[in-house]
């Protein structure tokens, strides 16, 4: 970047480029352009894609490396090694096709899985030779737009050729034709000490969940119990006094124990002293004694356990207690702290540190950690989950392979030498099936890692573009939804800029399901070896060389890397500054974070995956490092976001490092101590909340409501929307981009895939049909296409081939006597399918399928064509007619013919349809009024929608009012206005535009009533507001019945609209009728109209007998027959609810005799 100032000293002149000396320094305009640049590189769902790419390219190799070798129990000379693994590109898992390449869209349409082969390089012994070759061991579903997907790096034209929408974010999988998302999972961070205090029990505990590669997780606690400190671990049956634990870890002298835990602080020593006494009281003085003490309490885990190598059973497995202790301490307790050659020093220091943190918290209540602090959270993404799944599947695969090989090798004599590759080829599809099953059901049940999680994946919601986008940024929490704690649900100050404060569902998942903010990035693992080396290079002293006195000396800071203590530094600030300099110079990954924790006198370096971070502009010496010239380069498309990173102009801050930074919100806020500058304040909102214009003027819950409703809005869902065959698809006929946009809208592409229309709204009362948020709609607007939408519904069927050789078939229309097709077959064409474009009336048949009557008969051996068939057609069930939009005939992976028929309905808004503005203000249409009855302004404009002003005072959606004003100004001046959060077009400017165009500055117009023709007595707030039509439409909900189907068991009317059910007169309604004394109405509602049943009962024994007519000749009498009394004499017929009859019979089945005591009504 050249500087032009040194050429001429024109800055010395009083007027430099038109600016005086006292003029304020021009701030970097259009700094927000960094955001689109960021999104261009990162994309909205880059977290998912990065994570998947990391798994596919790096992590999967680690998994294989960790489980590389198979040996045989039978033949000691045999071995098989997996030397490498790689994943190919998605292809068709079929033979005999022209091209193996498969597009995601084909997978969606054909209900197949978008997956790629997993290919391993194996080396194994064949006879005396060692053979090396590649083998496919299974298939893995590929995340769309990841490095392995055909869509990555394609231009819009190429995507269009593949029927793919360029605005689709990707990041999901296609499994058996359905789009599945693996939601981001929120967890507490691993390998970090969390100190907590239970105020009720007065207990302080430090806990640390250890997790290393290989997935063995264990949680270690250091807890206080009755003023003593203990070490607690799952594998040790009893709490171990901390002094004993430390002694067992090799800190033998009391002095050293004291120094490593309490240090030289007298207060701390006082708290800790008693623990040393305890150890002495228990007679534990030496390491050996301590190990014996611990060892006798270790839960010996044999059986399925892999460690110890024992399992031989009996006396051979029994080891001395101290060995058990050593084993447990080395591998189970704090398993993430490395123990090399039984050197427990590092682990001892870690336990001592935990103890010290507990002591500190006992001493000072404030020294506890916050579980809900975002810096203590890690987000688990698709890549990590798939890595676990793959490891599990791979291990199972290996053990299956091993037993298969053993089986062959066991056979004594073979003619040819054994080739393990052949065995591999007959191994079945365990891995592919495992992936498909896990992703399609969402159940991650991995016994090996004690993991049992359901609901990990969800079907990608394609209701609207925003719904799909919102789903990709969603974070699910591991917290239970039922627990009544507010902490995890509350808004955390540390989530600023990382998680969207508005976008969370209402109700039970409120605050637990979160969404990422616009510029959030989630890290993937970065190798920590080089980081440790760099730290030592920068002067960190190795922790193993330090004593307690040194560690806790004043001005000494402990250096942690990913939670593990590596050393000490006396100059933390200098160390951190140098470390950051290296990072900014790109000598370290940009996602490595470093920060000083002054409370703990510690420097933390983190490089683990799952941290949430975001970019910020670096400020040095009170000046932003991003300057005009940089932004100009960006504008000219000569620099990308990565260039900014490389130049050290911006950097990523994770939540912890953010605490070490002083971030200015605006450039004018920069002071000499400022370290960073926000790129743009509105990025603290997420993609969904970003649609709201002027959200900073709204009451906050309204923004949350809009975040929920924006996902239900009907609009465009993708450029390929008309090529998709989804189960249910809502599309708007004439979607419009909003008059009042936001920067976020432009960046996520909502202006290209909008879901709503700019309606001219008059805020006034009209007719009384607008109470309770109801809206009045203009009939002429509806005639002209306002709010018109289409509903597409998929109907799919398979034309099966059955194992017995028979098959389904499609048949011609059924003809009546005169040879004309029956009415309900009238759209069936020669191929047995309805013609595209035909109107389907309710009850019409559109797939005339026939199934052989003996399809399940496996003994059938006859001629398949001569089999009798029964009709199994698919008929149209909706209450209103639709049109056949598409008919697709294809076949699935297992060569069954698949037929999909898409039926379309076009709907115009009607009474009761739901609409909403972008401010959480929903309402149903209460009345449709002709244009002539609508009020009109001086220019003749009449509203599309009338909204009742009562919607405003209690909701306080001032943003909506400003949207109207800005929208009106925009329409008058012919420009789109911006309502970007914390910015956007100013009300003052909007008012000026209005006045310039001859309107009142306040946006209120003088209207004339369309009914009386006289002017209205009040001025009416009048202008365009973007309205969304929501998917809830009366047509899908309205339901009534006079008579209809009944349930088989109880003979009562069925329940629910889908079963054409009755409307229940519930308990509370029943109570009302009882209270009122309307007995006849009760009788009618509860019995006559429901499940009245005539039964013959015996007056003598009180039991129900055989009904008359059922067997009149046998009973003789007309009143039925009592099978108990063997008589027909005293039988009476009475009407009771069938449910009551059932109850009596059920009681009788339980040996309880209900007897009816009968009397005449008159008595």
């Amino acid at each position: 970047m050249e500087d032009d100032t040194d050429a001429s000293p024109d800055w010395a002149q009083p007027n430099w480029k038109g600016l005086g000396i006292s003029d304020p320094i021009k701030s970097v305009e259009d700094k927000w352009l960094l955001l689109p640049a960021f999104l261009k590189v990162k994309g909205l769902v880059k977290q998912h894609i990065d994570s998947f790419d990391y798994f596919v390219n790096a992590d999967i190799k680690n998994v294989v490396k960790a489980n590389a070798k198979i040996t045989s129990d039978v033949d000691p000379r045999f071995w098989l090694k997996f030397t490498d693994i790689h994943i190919g590109f998605p292809d068709r898992n079929e033979s005999g096709v022209a091209t193996q390449q498969v597009t995601p869209h084909e997978c969606r349409l054909r209900d197949i899985t978008y997956s790629a082969p997993i290919i391993v390089t194996i080396m194994y012994t064949r006879g005396k030779n060692i053979v090396k070759r590649n083998a496919q061991i299974g298939r893995i579903p590929i995340m769309l737009r990841s490095g392995k997907c055909f869509l990555s790096g394609r231009s819009e034209e190429e995507l269009a050729r593949m029927s793919e929408c360029p605005l689709d974010p990707g990041g999901y999988f296609i499994v058996k034709g359905t789009e599945k998302v693996i939601l981001v999972q929120e967890q507490l961070s691993k390998n970090r000490i969390i100190v907590e205090r239970d105020p009720v029990k007065g207990v302080v505990q430090a806990s640390c969940t250890s997790s290393t590669h290989g997935g063995i997780k264990s949680k270690t606690y250091v807890v206080t119990k009755k003023d003593r400190i203990y070490l607690r671990h799952n594998s040790i049956s009893e709490d171990v006094p901390i002094a004993i634990a430390l002694k067992a870890l090799g800190i033998q002298s009391d002095k050293e124990v004291l120094l490593l835990t309490a240090g030289s602080d007298e207060a701390y020593r006082a708290i800790f002293a008693a623990n040393l006494e305890d150890a002495a009281k228990l007679g534990v003085f030496t390491r050996r004694q301590a190990l014996e003490y611990v060892g006798s309490r270790v839960k010996v885990n044999r059986g399925g356990g892999g460690w110890g190598g024992g399992g031989g059973g009996g006396a051979a497995g029994k080891r001395p207690a101290w060995e058990e202790a050593l084993e447990a301490l080395a591998t189970l307790v704090l398993s993430h702290v490395p123990v090399r050659g039984l050197d427990f020093r590092a682990k001892a220091i870690f336990v001592a540190t935990m103890t010290r943190r507990v002591i500190a918290a006992v001493h000072d209540e404030k020294m506890v950690d916050d579980r809900d602090y975002v810096g203590n959270k890690r987000l688990e993404l698709a890549g990590q989950l798939l890595a676990l799944l793959f490891e599990d599947l791979f291990k199972t695969y290996q053990s299956n392979l091993k037993s298969a090989i053993d089986k062959v090798l066991k056979k004594a004599s073979r003619t040819t030498e054994y080739d393990a590759f052949k065995t591999m080829q007959f191994m079945g599809d365990h891995i592919s099936a495992g992936f498909v099953r896990a992703i399609s059901t969402g159940n991650w049940s991995l016994k090996r890692f004690r993991m049992e999680r359901a609901g990990v994946t969800h079907v990608l919601s394609r209701l609207s573009f925003i719904a799909a986008l919102g789903m990709m940024t969603r974070i699910a929490s591991q917290f239970e939804k039922t627990r009544k704690v507010s902490g995890p649900r509350a808004l955390q100050p540390s989530q600023w800029g990382m998680l969207c404060p508005s976008d969370t569902p209402e109700g039970e998942a409120c605050g637990l399901v979160k969404n990422l903010a616009l510029m959030t990035h989630i890290t993937t693992d970065v190798d920590e070896e080089p980081i440790v080396r760099v730290a030592f290079m920068l002067g960190v002293e190795d922790i193993n060389l330090a004593t307690g006195a040194e560690i806790y000396a004043p001005h000494v800071f402990v250096v942690y890397v990913n939670g593990t203590i590596i050393g000490l530094t006396r100059y933390p600030a200098r160390f951190v500054a140098a470390f950051r300099k290296l990072r900014r110079a790109r000598r370290l990954s940009e996602f490595v974070s470093v920060y000083i924790n002054h409370h703990q006198a510690a420097v933390h370096i983190a490089s683990d995956g799952g941290r949430i971070c975001r970019p910020a502009v670096i400020v040095e010496g009170g000046v932003s490092r991003v300057r005009r010239e940089h932004v100009d380069l960006l504008k000219a498309n000569k620099a990308s976001f990565d260039d900014f990173l490389k130049l050290g102009l911006v950097e990523y801050l994770d939540v912890n490092e953010e605490n070490d930074a002083y971030i200015a919100l605006y450039e004018s806020d920069i002071t000499p101590s400022t370290t960073h500058l926000e790129i743009e304040p509105f990025t603290l909102l997420g993609a969904v909340a970003g649609l709201i214009p002027y959200p900073h003027h709204n009451q906050s819950p309204r923004n949350t409501y809009q975040c929920a409703m924006g996902k239900q809005a009907i609009g465009a869902i993708g450029y390929n929307q008309l090529r998709r065959i989804d189960t249910l698809l809502y599309l708007s006929v004439y979607p419009q981009q909003p008059m009042v946009k936001t920067r976020t809208i432009e960046m996520v592409g909502y202006d290209r895939l909008p879901a709503g229309q700019n309606a001219v709204v008059a805020v006034m009362a009209y007719s009384g049909y607008d109470i309770e948020d109801a809206l009045i709609l203009n009939k002429a607007s509806l005639d002209r296409g306002y709010g018109r939408c289409q509903v597409f519904r998929k109907n799919a069927t398979l034309i099966r081939k059955y194992p017995n050789g028979t098959f389904d078939r499609l048949a011609d229309a059924v003809l009546d006597d005169s040879g004309v097709p029956l009415k309900k077959y009238d759209i069936i064409q020669g191929d047995g399918l309805a013609g595209v474009g035909e109107r389907v009336d309710p009850g019409d048949i559109f797939i005339n399928k026939q199934t052989p009557t003996n399809a399940t008969d496996n003994s059938f051996t006859g001629h398949a064509a001569a089999v009798p068939y029964k009709n199994t057609p698919m008929s149209y069930k909706a209450p209103v007619a639709g049109n056949i939009d598409k008919v697709m005939i294809s076949d699935t992976e297992n060569e069954q013919t698949l037929i999909k028929v898409l039926v379309r309905q076009t709907r115009r808004p009607e009474l009761g349809d739901k609409f909403s503005s972008r401010h959480g203000q929903k309402g149903v249409c209460g009345l449709i009024v002709g244009q002539e009855d609508m009020p009109f302004g001086d220019g003749g404009v009449c509203p599309d929608t009338i909204m009742n002003p009562h919607g405003f005072p209690s909701r306080m959606t001032v943003g909506k009012m400003i949207e109207l004003l800005a929208g009106k100004a925009g329409t008058l001046s012919g420009s789109l206005q911006y309502g970007t959060a914390f910015g956007g077009s100013k009300v003052e400017d909007m008012s000026r535009i209005l006045v310039e165009h001859g309107f009142s500055y306040a946006g209120k117009d003088m209207l004339t009533s369309g009914i009386t023709g006289e002017p209205m007595e009040a001025y009416v707030y009048f202008g365009p507001i973007y309205y969304q039509k929501l998917k809830h439409m009366v047509m899908d909900k309205m339901h009534a019945r006079a008579r209809g189907p009944r349930a088989t068991l109880t003979r009562q009317p069925t329940e629910g609209r889908s079963r054409e059910g009755g409307l229940r007169l519930g308990e509370m309604e029943r109570d009302c009728l009882i209270g009122y004394g309307a007995t006849q109405l009760l009788l009618e509602r509860l019995m006559i109209s429901s499940d009245a049943f005539e039964v013959a009962a015996c007056e003598g024994c009180g039991l129900m007998g055989r009904s008359p007519g059922a067997n009149a000749s046998a009973g003789g009498g007309s009143g039925g027959w009592c099978t108990y009394c063997k008589s027909a004499k005293r039988m009476a017929t009475l009407t009771i609810p069938y449910a009551a009859k059932l109850l009596f019979q059920e009681l009788m089945a339980m040996n309880v005799v209900p007897r009816l005591v009968l009397a005449d009504a008159g008595e």
Partner: protein, 350 residues
């Protein structure tokens, strides 16, 4: 020019006063306001201000709002026009679905004089008097010789846009002679109905019938018909000359005159009709008490934009025709009430 204050609607900062007329019998004690045809005739004034091909501006003075509004409502909803109502789709392979394309077809304004046709009532047979038939047969193909390097659809393809001018009228029965030179066609030939790509085709028959706007907005003959009432500004005391410029800017251009020499402020009565009544003047405290805004209740500035076969000037007459027919119905009904011996029912709208 002073106006009877009873004719004025008050325009205040936050409300509008005296919106209803008061010249009805019994409102003012001792004054006779009973309706008098002579007086009405004297007061009634219709003056055309501007006529163009598509719109007309005229003043209607001296009628009650109810009359003016009735005419407006009739213009919107009850003056009949011709529009496409039935669409028979033989082939449509465009991305626009059949119903949507049909809906778009319906909204095309047709240049057919509605007087030439009769209304198709439910149950009627289609005849050459009540139905017009249009046909579309349109197929997009590749341009066999596109200009080198072309990327735009208009260069690459032939027939890539289905426009309203591609509807062709097919005369039935006597229609050929009946319509003569004035062939039915869309008023605007350049309305885009669908965009096509090679291989896509639209083939449909369209039946146009006569109906009114209250049935469907496509039958409305106007883009809009509306009125506003004449603004009236009265200066109560002279505006201080330092505020003159600001006062002038509070109104539409030309409404306020400032004398170049004296800086005296006056209202230009000729251009006062151009004022949009922004109430900007009421916003500034320095003009408080200096000016009063109002509008003349019975002076309607009508604006009719025709979007149909009617010439704008004719539309208003048509609306009066419809109104007369309605009145005739009422009259006949009243007559029937008074004299119930007559047996025929009165048919609405005939």
């Amino acid at each position: 020019m002073s106006i009877d204050p009873r004719r004025l609607v008050g325009v205040k900062a936050e409300r509008v006063t005296n919106i209803s007329s008061t010249d009805f019998p019994g409102h003012y004690p001792g004054e006779d306001h009973s309706w008098d045809a002579q007086k009405f005739k004297q007061n009634l004034k219709v003056q055309v201000q501007r006529v163009s091909n598509r719109s007309i501006d005229f003043d209607l003075v001296g009628v009650d709002a109810s009359i003016a509004n009735a005419l407006r409502r009739i213009l919107l909803a009850e003056v009949p026009t011709i529009a496409i109502e039935h669409v028979y789709v033989y082939d449509n392979t465009t991305v626009i679905q059949d119903e949507v394309l049909a809906h778009r077809m319906g909204l095309i304004p047709l240049d057919v004089d509605p007087d030439m046709m009769t209304t198709l009532l439910p149950g009627d047979d289609l005849t050459d008097r009540n139905t017009l038939v249009f046909k579309v047969d349109f197929e997009c193909t590749r341009n066999p010789r596109p200009p080198p390097g072309a990327t735009e659809p208009e260069d690459l393809y032939l027939n890539h846009e289905l426009l309203s001018k591609h509807l062709s009228w097919h005369p039935e029965g006597e229609q050929k002679t009946y319509f003569g030179n004035h062939e039915p066609q869309p008023t605007n030939g350049d309305i885009v109905l669908a965009k096509l790509r090679p291989g896509q085709r639209v083939q449909m028959d369209l039946h146009a019938i006569k109906s009114v706007g209250k049935d469907h907005a496509k039958f409305s003959p106007v883009a809009t018909a509306s009125y506003r009432i004449l603004p009236h500004i009265s200066i109560l005391k002279p505006i201080p000359k330092e505020h003159a410029k600001k006062f002038q800017q509070c109104f539409a251009p030309g409404v306020v005159d400032i004398d170049p020499t004296t800086h005296a402020v006056s209202i230009n009565q000729k251009f006062v009709r151009n004022d949009t009544v922004t109430r900007e003047v009421l916003r500034h405290p320095e003009f408080e008490g200096y000016v009063e805004l109002s509008r003349v209740r019975d002076h309607f500035l009508f604006n009719i934009e025709s979007e149909s076969a009617y010439e704008p000037a004719r539309l208003f007459k048509e609306s009066i025709k419809v109104m007369k027919a309605k009145l005739a119905t009422v009259r006949a009904s009243v007559e029937l009430l008074r004299n119930p011996t007559r047996s025929e029912d009165v048919v609405m709208g005939s």
